[in-house]
């Protein structure tokens, strides 16, 4: 195996805008909001940036294509701005590019920024994306909730779980995230909910109801990275570093062959195994302090716990009901509210997950600060269960 990224790159600073229905803010405003905080946190000026990566998914309702929109919004000093688009995993991909750039020595300081302006479509939910000229001629015009809802249908069959039990388990996923999100002043949805509310909510895609679906939000997040020696030269202590950055992408096996059973993420199993190896983690259930997973839908989070090895196969629903992933559970998940409540500005989400890890590892998470956070796992997913991009990153304190 390659050397890996462990402890080669540290975070200099981070920023995250308030997420939500930001009627007040353009995508450019959101970028500035995240950028200002990150630059202030890093204590650098723009001339110190060597290169930048820019993540945005829906160019048609957001910023437009290419790297120019960010260069103009932030008035960058004519440095490289590369647009990264990898569905909802784009944020993590921008981070990976920036981290690799500084790790290689080609750059000393790099910025990754993600933004999405989803609330300029005129309706709730995600806009309909274009998929080329061939796919629309045979593939159903499927929407995200129904793509992910199929996990539930397959999971029920595989593990012999009745509809009501599974629905209660996935409801608990959302109840937990709402309880966490209520404590986060930058989160989109800040109301606690009950299981009963989940069960009674209108159906979006059987068996997913309104509360099984994450918020569709406007927002931006940014991270500035460098090598640890440069960070120290800049006066930084208490550094948070990258331990693993892995990405696995479907190659059509799940959607075409008859082997995958539809109840799990093939890519998440590959990416997490590689990430643990890269980070030198052999017992994830003991060594991972907390997770931020891609809870686009409640059922996604539940089955992902098995794919990450944090629940036994066929047992995540029980772990969820027993509170294993609650704020006071063994491995807290979405302590910031997750996609469900912090919100999901697509291109920014992966960086938002990193933001929470960074705050928690530095003890700066305020009201929602967890005790004894040593390492955190970020799972950022793009696409849908039968064809997706899965990014698994692990961060922790430098040298630990």
């Amino acid at each position: 195996m390659a050397q890996g990224i462990k402890d080669k790159v540290a975070i200099l600073g981070m920023g995250c805008s308030r997420f939500g229905e930001r009627w007040d803010a353009s995508p450019e405003d959101l970028m500035v909001e995240a950028y200002n905080e990150a630059m202030q946190d890093a204590g650098i000026t723009r001339v110190q940036l060597d290169a930048t990566w820019f993540s945005t998914h829906m160019e048609d309702v957001g910023t437009g294509r290419g790297g120019i929109p960010m260069s103009i919004a932030l008035r960058l000093p004519n440095i490289g701005v590369t647009r990264v688009e990898n569905f909802c995993a784009g944020g993590s991909e921008a981070v990976r590019a920036a981290v690799y750039a500084v790790a290689s020595g080609a750059c000393d300081i790099a910025l990754a920024l993600g933004v999405e302006k989803l609330k300029d479509t005129g309706y709730g939910g995600l806009p309909v994306a274009t998929v080329g000229t061939y796919i629309p001629q045979w593939y159903p015009a499927a929407v995200a909730p129904a793509n992910f809802a199929q996990l539930a249908a397959a999971y029920r069959v595989k593990h012999g779980i009745d509809k009501a039990t599974l629905k209660e388990a996935i409801s608990q996923v959302s109840v937990k995230s709402h309880a966490n999100g209520a404590k986060n002043s930058r989160a989109h949805l800040r109301k606690e909910i009950t299981i009963e509310q989940c069960l009674k909510a209108p159906t979006i895609a059987e068996p997913l109801g309104l509360f099984d679906c994450c918020g569709v939000s406007d927002g931006a997040a940014a991270v500035i990275v460098s090598r640890p020696e440069i960070a120290r030269e800049l006066g930084k202590t208490d550094l948070v570093s990258f331990k693993a950055l892995q990405v696995a992408v479907s190659n059509g096996w799940e959607m075409s062959s008859n082997e995958w059973d539809g109840s799990y993420f093939h890519t998440a199993r590959i990416a997490s195994r590689k990430a643990y190896e890269e980070a030198g983690i052999s017992k994830p259930r003991e060594e991972i302090s907390m997770t931020e997973v891609h809870d686009c839908f409640s059922v996604t989070e539940m089955v992902t716990m098995e794919d990450l090895g944090l629940s036994d196969e066929g047992n995540a629903w029980r772990d969820v009901l027993e509170g294993k992933f609650n704020a006071d559970g063994a491995i807290p998940c979405q302590i910031d509210g997750g996609l469900k409540c912090f919100g999901h500005p697509v291109g920014a989400s992966g960086i938002r997950m990193l933001y929470e890890m960074y705050l928690q590892l530095q003890g700066r998470a305020g009201e929602r600060q967890l005790g004894n956070v040593r390492s955190g796992l970020i799972h950022n997913l793009g696409g849908q269960p039968n064809q997706n991009i899965c990014s698994v990153s692990i961060v922790g304190r430098l040298g630990e």
Binding site: G125, Q137, W138, A141, A142, A146, R156, E206, S257
Partner: protein, 492 residues
Amino acid sequence: MTIGITGFGAYLPRLRLNRKEVVEANAWFAPQLQRKGKGQRSMSNWDEDAVTLAVAACRNALPESVDRNGIARLQLVSDSLPFAERLNAGVVAGALRLPQAVYANDLCGAQSAAVSAISQLVNAARAAEASILVAASNRRTRAASPAELDYGDGSAAVTLGSDKVLAEVLSTSVLTADFVDRFRLQGEDIDYYWEERWVRDEGIGKLGTRAVSQALDNAGLAPASIDHFIFPTVFKGADAQLAQKCGIAEAAVVDNFAAQVGDTGSAHALLMLNAVLERAQAGQTILVCQFGSGVSCALLRVTEQIDGFKPVKTLAEQLAAGWEENNYTRYLAYKGQLKLERGMRGEQDKKTALSTSWRHHDSLLGFVAGRCTESGNVHFPPSRISYTPGKPAQDTQEPYPLADRKGRILSWSAEYLSSYMAPPHQYGQVDFEGGGRLLMEFTDVRPGDIESGGEVEMVFRIKDVDELRGYKRYFWKAKPTTYPAPGRIERG
């Protein structure tokens, strides 16, 4: 050489509109229609049109034992073809994977066109050309019109040739006359018709008797020898009156399905013929006639081969499998008579790249996958490199048709989010017998009809309509082979 019908098949959409709901909804405006508020009429699903109806009838007429490569001609007859330019029969030929050397034609203009086409195809059979004749109807009607209650949607097909003839064509006759009982100008979507009494007395009564006599004379048969007399008409009793005038026994008059289906326009004579052939006995004579810009007739005699043929799905079983539709507004919406608010999600551009369609035409119309000759793995769409884990073989796939294979549902959902004409929009992953997997749309389904592990079959339907440019694209969808018993449907 015996020439005649070698196979047959019909198709009825599953939906049957309850006429009572129609007349009650319109009673404030058209109280005179109340007396017509009995029984049901068949209605197409939102994703059906004359082309998909035709494909369905042909597939029922072509059991696996029939070699489609032996079909030299395809005639598609319809009063409601979707395309004025683009060969509709070409779409049907593509979906059936008929050889590219097939002579495919659209026939329209007269309700009698399907019956008069029999004569041409008999001539083709004499020249050793086997053919398939299909007629389909999916007419639009104005709200609160008698036509809305009288018409039905459906299709029927017969194959003709000289091998294993089930019903020999003894004679044909035609009487071409510009007798305008109905008309529809190019670009109009609803037909206009003249007074019933005039049509019945001057048209059917006079032209009909002459054409029938001619057919009988051509074959040298007496009217009393006719066992089944097929004469579609929406005028109650006009068929029996014509039979009486011609000297044909009243008992020979074939039921025209007015009670359960309605009149399927240019498909109706062949539809009634299908019903007769499903129960006919060797030696019986059948006189098929249809009125429209004159009259066309074909006189048939059933052979001993009749017991050796069964359509893939019989008309009788389809008649029994209807679903009563009590939402009149659904009918209006599907027939383009009621504009529903589709929401912003309905604004998505459905432009079709025609060059892409052609590049993949066999996969899209014929539903052909690629099967890797090394691993046996099935790929849709076909690709140069196979997905087989660890063995990505290149350029090893051969064409592998999926249309006639059954599938099982691996996973599914039913969503209320997208703009869809039959909510909830249901789709899921389908695993095919013999390999291959696709995410497919389910059609002809209600909430509760889909369950993991359920068996599905493939049907050719409209995939999307591009309203901006006026184009339709077609693809295959999955339909359950069985449905939960009424009352056992779990909602939501």
